[in-house]
């Protein structure tokens, strides 16, 4: 039986963070990453670039040399089919076994696929979550001219934008009444939608697909509203849910997400979880929930890795952050952008030309979230203010109106800690 001190199931961002975390405390012991994906470790956040023609090596954001340097070996293209947690071992497809002392489950999320009539046996129906999806879409580009994307969230709008760049006629169907509902407030959502409409993308909101039409080849989709959209391909991008595939039928607490404590440890002492598979603490509302976001996965990976290697490194919780990187006008957001109740104060500003918009959401004088469009330099200062819960009552108007957000408006004591002392990122490094 193959053995490794640390075994990581998964090879993407949470796993990369974990390697970093483990090596902070343990420079020597063996680390093994296992992934069913043949490409191994790559950046899922850049898949759109691959569809647009970048080589697959471009996606390997840490590169093979990095893993060599960090002393990490890997099994790529190998699927884990069984967890024998009481014996501290895994079973791979084909029956091979792998033993571990510490295990990290960074198995990610799986795309949520709604049951749609007529979806079976059609070739040009895609998800957009992992490399194999992106490769299928890229290889099929010549086979469709019109495409319908289901879901106007982050991935839905990103793939819509990408295919529109590639001269496809793209329609987006969204059940909700606006685009990017998780990341943006209603007004900025409207701005994002018009930016995409300007590029030629059509949106069908408050609507859903009843049936995918066509015998073998797709001819169109029929919407609940009665409209029919002719198309040759359909992409579902409704979101991902924690991947419970190999976790069910084990002693692990998995309930719409892997349960982990503040050290990213599961209910089994030498088994940890990080990334899209877990329910993570959201610092904006104190709730534990799946938060499939890049920086959170990386940070959880670091925390899990550090604790696996004997550190005492609590997870301070994650702050939802979004950058709509594909749009012509940059849009950044973090935290609560649409207040859930009347207990919040909302400040917003917009220039008449529509090139700048910003909204701040406050509670008790403290920043809880923001959206900024068109002017983004220094936006991270707002992110920092959400995390540190500084009282911003005195300078909130500056934060709202000044296009470049600077440290000059911060209380001097706060600033001086940064300038002359340690970095105050909240981690106990």
């Amino acid at each position: 039986m193959k053995k490794s001190e640390y075994v990581i199931v998964g090879a993407n961002v949470a796993a990369v963070g974990a390697v970093e975390g483990i090596r902070r405390y343990d420079k020597k012991s063996s680390i093994l990453t296992i992934s069913y994906e043949t490409l191994g470790s790559y950046s899922k956040a850049m898949l759109a670039g691959y569809i647009e023609g970048a080589p697959s090596e471009w996606l390997e954001y840490r590169g093979k040399e990095y893993f060599e340097k960090m002393g990490v070996s890997h099994l790529y293209g190998r699927r884990v089919t069984g967890l024998e947690l009481e014996k501290s071992k895994l079973v791979l497809e084909g029956g091979e076994e792998v033993g571990y002392k510490q295990l990290l489950l960074a198995v990610g999320g799986t795309p949520f696929k709604p049951a749609i009539r007529g979806a079976d046996n059609k070739e040009l129906i895609f998800s957009f979550t992992e490399f194999s999806d992106a490769r299928k879409i890229r290889e099929s580009l010549s086979k469709f001219e019109r495409v319908v994307v289901i879901g106007a969230g982050f991935t839905g709008t990103e793939i819509a934008y990408t295919l529109n760049n590639l001269n496809k006629k793209v329609s987006v169907v969204e059940l909700g009444d606006r685009v990017l509902v998780k990341a943006l407030d209603p007004h900025s959502s409207g701005i994002a939608e018009s930016l995409m409409r300007d590029q030629g993308i059509d949106f069908y909101l408050n609507d859903t697909i009843e049936e995918i039409e066509g015998k073998k080849e797709i001819t169109g989709v029929r919407l609940k509203s009665g409209k029919t959209l002719p198309c040759q391909a359909v992409i579902t991008a409704i979101g991902v849910v924690p991947n419970g595939q190999i976790l069910s039928n084990t002693a692990l607490n998995f309930n719409r997400g892997l349960e982990v404590d503040e050290f990213m440890r599961t209910n089994i002492p030498n088994v940890y979880g990080a990334g899209d598979v877990v329910k993570a603490l959201d610092i904006t509302d104190g709730q534990k929930k799946p938060l499939p976001l890049w920086p959170l996965a990386y940070q959880q990976g670091i925390v899990a890795g550090a604790n696996m290697a004997g550190g005492e490194y609590p997870y301070i919780g994650g702050l939802p952050m979004n950058s709509l990187k594909f749009l012509k006008v940059p849009i950044l957001s973090a935290g609560i952008t649409t207040p859930p109740d009347a207990g919040y104060e909302v400040l917003s500003t917009e220039d008449p030309k529509g090139t700048f918009y910003r909204s701040l959401v406050l509670k008790d004088g403290r920043l809880k979230g923001f959206v900024t469009i068109g002017a983004i330099d220094g936006a991270g200062i707002l992110t920092g203010l959400i995390k540190n819960q500084v009282d911003i009552s005195e300078f909130k108007q500056n934060l709202l109106h000044e296009k470049r957000i600077g440290l000059i408006r911060m209380p001097r004591e706060w600033r001086n800690k940064i300038f002359t002392r340690r970095d105050e990122t909240g981690y106990h490094d």
Binding site: I302, M321, K325, T420, D423
Partner: protein, 160 residues
């Protein structure tokens, strides 16, 4: 780790640090050519902030736990062996994750022209290797920027 310590009481808002930063990171390494021919206006990695009479020049803190690195989807931001948090502009895809993540506003977006990438202070890694101080520190006429151990780390308060 030695970093640029910012002493705001001494800053006279002369902007010499910005000019020196742009020049040292230009091809010509000459301020006027860098501004006029290489179109590097606004590309200083350190930014002078003024709310008279308060002023200071602020740049990357090369954090022990860099949030810009956590948010980087392309691998452009990496920590070098000497502790410097380095952004490789060639590899940057302009996702603005670092701009959103850095609590000091020290990762900046280059939104001009076709080149969409972020930029930030590299602590003048090439100059350090040549035994020199960071360009902004050398250019500062009033010791408002010092190349030194940061206080907390010098005290050993948070080192592990």
């Amino acid at each position: 780790m030695k970093k640029v310590v910012i002493v705001e009481d001494f800053c006279i808002a002369c902007y010499n640090c910005e000019v020196a930063c742009i020049a040292t990171h230009s091809k010509s390494e000459e301020p006027v050519k860098a501004y006029k021919r290489e179109n590097l206006r606004g590309r200083s990695n350190t930014i002078v902030e003024v709310n008279s009479p308060v002023a200071f020049s602020a740049m990357c803190r090369h954090c022990t736990h860099p949030w810009c690195l956590d948010t980087c989807i392309s691998g452009a931001i990496q920590r070098l062996d000497n502790g410097i948090v380095y952004l490789d502009e060639e590899r940057c895809v302009g996702c603005w994750g670092c701009v959103l993540g850095c609590p000091y506003g020290a990762a900046h977006p280059n939104l001009k022209g076709e080149e969409k990438h972020a930029f930030k202070c590299d602590l003048c890694v090439d100059r350090l290797e040549a035994g020199l101080k960071p360009a902004c520190v050398e250019a500062c006429p009033n010791k408002a920027l010092l190349y030194d151990e940061t206080l907390g780390e010098a005290e050993g308060a948070y080192s592990r």
